[in-house]
């Protein structure tokens, strides 16, 4: 009885992990700009990994390896949103404009326009545009060409 409940819980956790990771993958592939992608990567993917590691911990039972799995789960719950935050903050420091709902440019076009506005240096590592006065957002709400 207990064994059947545990097997059902393990299968359910693996299915939930697959579902949330599928949502996260679809978001990273389909969403329009870096900030929304960082959002789905920090939330849906963390939940997917949490469910997967919970299934692993359930199937291991009381062992030393379970302690490692719970540590891994805790670690991923802390570090994954932090990494996504750092990445999107780096994108903001580089001056990549966020996508707006009335904007029908593609993400490549958006990136090129941010580049032409002088926010981003060509090589990706900006030596001259990192000053504070160059990081102001454009006045007309990002709709300029």
């Amino acid at each position: 009885m207990i064994e059947a409940i545990r097997t059902a819980l393990i299968v359910g956790c693996v299915l939930a992990a697959l579902f949330f990771t599928l949502v996260s993958t679809a978001g990273v592939l389909r969403l329009p700009d870096i900030y929304t992608r960082a959002h789905t990567a920090s939330q849906a993917d963390t939940l997917g990994a949490g469910f997967g590691l919970a299934a692993v911990a359930l199937s291991l039972g009381w062992e030393t390896a379970t302690v490692k799995t719970v540590l891994l789960l805790f670690f991923i719950f802390i570090t994954n949103p932090t990494a996504a935050h750092a990445i999107s903050r780096a994108a903001d420091e580089q001056g990549i404009e966020p996508w707006r709902p009335d904007d029908d440019r593609s993400d490549l076009r958006l990136y090129r326009d941010s580049q032409e506005n002088g926010h981003i240096a060509d090589g990706g590592i900006s030596a001259d545009t990192a000053g504070d006065e160059e990081r102001q957002p454009p006045e007309d709400g990002g709709t300029n060409r």
Binding site: E3, T7, I10, V11, V14, A17, L18, T21, L22, S24, T25, V28, L29, I34, R37, A38, A41, D45, T46, G48, A49, G52, L53, A55, V56, S59, L60, G61, E63, T64, A65, K68, T69, L71, L72, F75, I76, T79, T82, A83, A84, A86, I87, S88, R89, A90, A91, E93, Q94, I96, D107, L108, L110, Y111, R112, G124, I125, S126, A127, A130
Partner: protein, 99 residues
């Protein structure tokens, strides 16, 4: 394979192995963003999500194949993944005020 974790049945082993295979498929789909993504941060984000998927795949394989040492590898990989994301996002900005 049931000598290390004697209480895991055959069904659970199969579920973990098939789950690991599907996670690998999702990770391959994520490679599109890592190749195509316009900015450096898009690529770093895609590789970060891919690394999280790799950690889950390693844990699944550890249970499915009965190799508990794969969990140690997963722990180290999660650490290196976080370090990679923070370091690259810090070094793409000149005055790194990221963290």
């Amino acid at each position: 394979m049931s000598t290390v974790f004697p209480e895991t049945g055959d069904l659970v082993t199969d579920v973990f192995l098939v789950g690991a295979a599907l996670f690998v498929l999702l990770a391959v789909a994520l490679l599109y963003r890592a190749v195509k993504g316009p900015s450096t941060q898009d690529r770093v984000l895609a590789v970060n999500v891919l690394g999280t998927n790799t950690v889950v795949v390693l844990a699944f394989l550890g249970v499915g194949l009965g190799e508990s040492s794969l969990l140690d590898i997963a722990l180290v990989y999660a650490l290196l993944n976080f370090l990679m994301a923070v370091a690259i996002s810090k070094f793409t900005v000149e005055r790194g005020g990221v963290l």
